[in-house]
Amino acid sequence: MSERLILAIETSCDETAAAIIRNGSEIVSNVVSSQIESQKRFGGVVPEIASRHHVEQITIVIEEALAKANMQPSDLDAVAVTEGPGLVGALLIGINAAKAFAFANGLPIVGVHHIAGHIYANALVQEMQFPLLALVVSGGHTELVLMREHGSFEVIGETRDDAAGEAYDKVARVLNMPYPGGPHIDRMAHEATAAVEFPRAWLEDSYDFSFSGLKSAVINYKHNMDQRGEEIIPEQVAKGFQDSVVEVLTTKTLRAAKEFNVKQVIAAGGVSANKGLRTSLEEVFEKEGIEFTVPPLKFCTDNAAMIGAAATYMYDAGVRGNLAMNGLPGKELTSWSK
């Protein structure tokens, strides 16, 4: 197939990002402008603040992606943008910038599902092998997705309450760690020699997840200790919490991988940057002889390179958006169709 160059834009949460991807796998440029420093003040992402930052950053980030690639708009074949899910006001900035850019430069536009993007971050590392199982874990998502071929998605399990990343952030707050709390919990868990025992929500016979009970157990533990005037050991709480999350995620992913006889398991999303989770998944799948991949750290968190990777496969399949495309905050992950 001839060369395809795609400009991708991602603004679904608190990163303003643009990237240029060649042939679905080669990163020509990748720019991410993070709002973490600003959002830290509020202990989480405030949607209105996120939208305001996106408007400030959007053309700067796109221009930088083009400049780093040493390219002009006329070099591109298409523009891709995250359509959803995400914060609606945030999505709208990327979508309207993408539509305006596409209109001005006479380019086709492709709307990408954010989770498809996270999964396709792996295509930036190596070719995907089907059937494939993806464990998507982030601040907003905890899903097991089965793919039988490119563009085919079956969500076989998902969280019934909190996303794993959400639970991490809440537990971090209980332990007085700053936002975003996930990396702190991961680090503290590794420093601990012992762990406080917390429950595991197995939800037997289902690939679904639940983390709200675990979160409550951590809060109750802290509360009880406070009432008794005893000090908690934050590292041991962090380890107990992380052990529970990692064991449930690993066990369910392994069971699904065996049941569907997959050739490859991939981890995707912000929480897949977690060292505890990575190590656990690597160990079990090495033992099982099933190929396991996880994208490099910088492609685990939100970025536009992954959107460009997914968009290239969609573009090849003939999927096209139009100037009436809207932000879809609750967009479901469905298989691609023209």
């Binding site: 003040r41 939208s51 305001r52 053309t59 221009e63 932000g327």
Partner: protein, 234 residues
């Protein structure tokens, strides 16, 4: 000189192309559809009606606020992206002044109003054919606005789709001083906005990057945060 004008700051949408002081095509609608869906297709349509291509334009004017946060951001995002990628200058115009332009032949004060909820408004007061500023655009209580206008002791015309909500209060405060624009004048027109933009300085391409909406109000979370910081210092 060919201008593209984009106005999405509240529920109405208006897009226009003006060439050398003539409106070639203008769309004004108030069908409550989301600007995120309708703005770009309407821009495409206006180009078609004017028989022009995107690259034919020389400058872009956009309503910069105040108004609906999301609405202004959609217009500003589209305008700055078009201006940047086509290397065209950009001008931001007050959404309130754009509306005031509809009745600039009124002999007296012109007060465009947008509802900002809880008896607060975004408003400005303008005067005369040149729309000179009497009261800068701002977020204030309706009560304070009416007090300011009363002091002026001049006839005033109120304009805007939200004026109806405040009509009783306005009449109670201002009586005969107050006039109300007929409904066919209540929608902002991108053509009038371009007419205002022609008198303004054009922003360079570099300034386009830092062009942002004029919300006239900080975000709630930020206001709360600032209050907490102040408390912490006391």
């Amino acid at each position: 000189m060919i201008w593209l004008g984009i106005e999405t700051s509240n529920s109405p949408l208006s897009i226009a192309i003006v060439k050398d002081g003539q409106v070639l095509a203008e769309i004004v609608q108030n069908n409550k559809l989301t600007h995120s869906v309708t703005a770009m297709p309407t821009i495409e349509e206006v180009f078609k009606k004017a028989k022009l291509n995107p690259s034919d334009i020389d400058a872009i004017a956009v309503a910069q606020g105040p108004g609906s946060y999301t609405g202004i951001r959609i217009g500003v995002t589209i305008a700055k992206t078009l201006a940047w990628t086509m290397k065209k200058p950009l001008v931001g115009i007050s959404s309130l002044k754009t509306l005031a332009a509809n009745v600039k032949i009124f002999n007296g004060l012109i007060c465009p109003i947008f509802d900002a909820r809880r008896q607060n408004v975004y408003a400005g007061v303008y005067k005369g054919k040149e729309l000179e500023t009497v009261l800068e655009d701002q977020h204030l209580s309706l009560e304070d606005l009416l007090m300011e206008i009363k002091k002026q002791d001049e006839p005033v015309v109120f304009i805007g789709l939200d004026v109806d909500k405040f009509k009783e209060d306005i009449i109670a405060q201002l009586g005969n001083q107050a006039n109300f624009a007929p409904y066919s004048y209540q929608l902002p027109r991108a053509g009038s906005m371009i007419e205002l933009a022609e008198k303004e300085q054009l922003l360079s391409v570099n300034e386009v990057h830092t062009f942002v909406p004029k919300y006239h109000r900080i975000a709630q979370a930020e206001a709360t945060w600032i209050k907490e910081q102040k408390k912490g210092h006391e």
